[in-house]
Symmetry: C2
Subunit: 111 residues, 2 copies
């Protein structure tokens, strides 16, 4: 039996200006739990993530906007979550450049 | 291609006094992402969860205490997370009876 591990989500790698810092909190069976800190990070226009797996994201702090291939965008505030199904093309359209945005993401096993 | 879904983690089933309310936000490939609202919910002494899968929990609001079979306890405040490995026996030793405690839990696929 392994021992439990503990941490604080606000403690972790800081985002570089214009970029992001990812850290994996738990992984197994094809699933991953990831902490993401962003500061002004934006994916290039037309550069879509097209993932084999469903993803769940929860915005914990800061502000962000997700863009989708159908042209819609969605703003996220702290407490907002999104489920992005496999092959739903998306990108990070904006994250606040003035402060750190903290995300919590879960990648499910590929279908 | 499925469409994305959105929600707010603070919006969801309210915890009954002395109990909890669970809602599944996403599941697939043996993994589950769950929102849990508790209000004074406590697992009976000696009643251990002994799970086949690793679990990640993040406390978003409120206050709680986890107990482990080795006799240790750990208090959780908002922003605190815990990884509970498979077969690490644990219980909820206390949740604040005066207000709602909001958890976010991820169950990984069984090993």
């Amino acid at each position: 039996m392994s021992a439990p591990r503990f941490g604080r989500i606000t403690a972790g790698p800081a985002a570089p200006a214009g970029g992001e810092a990812l850290s994996e909190l738990l992984a197994g069976g094809g699933a991953r739990v990831v902490r993401i800190a962003s500061r002004g990070q934006v994916d290039p226009e037309g550069a879509w993530y097209d993932q084999a797996e469903d993803e769940f994201v929860l915005l914990l702090r800061g502000a962000a906007r997700l863009g989708f291939a159908d042209g819609t965008e969605r703003s996220l505030a702290p407490g907002d979550w999104a489920v992005i199904p496999a092959h739903c093309r998306h990108r990070v359209a904006w994250t606040d450049p003035a402060g750190e945005t903290l995300w919590f993401a879960v990648h499910l096993p590929p279908a």
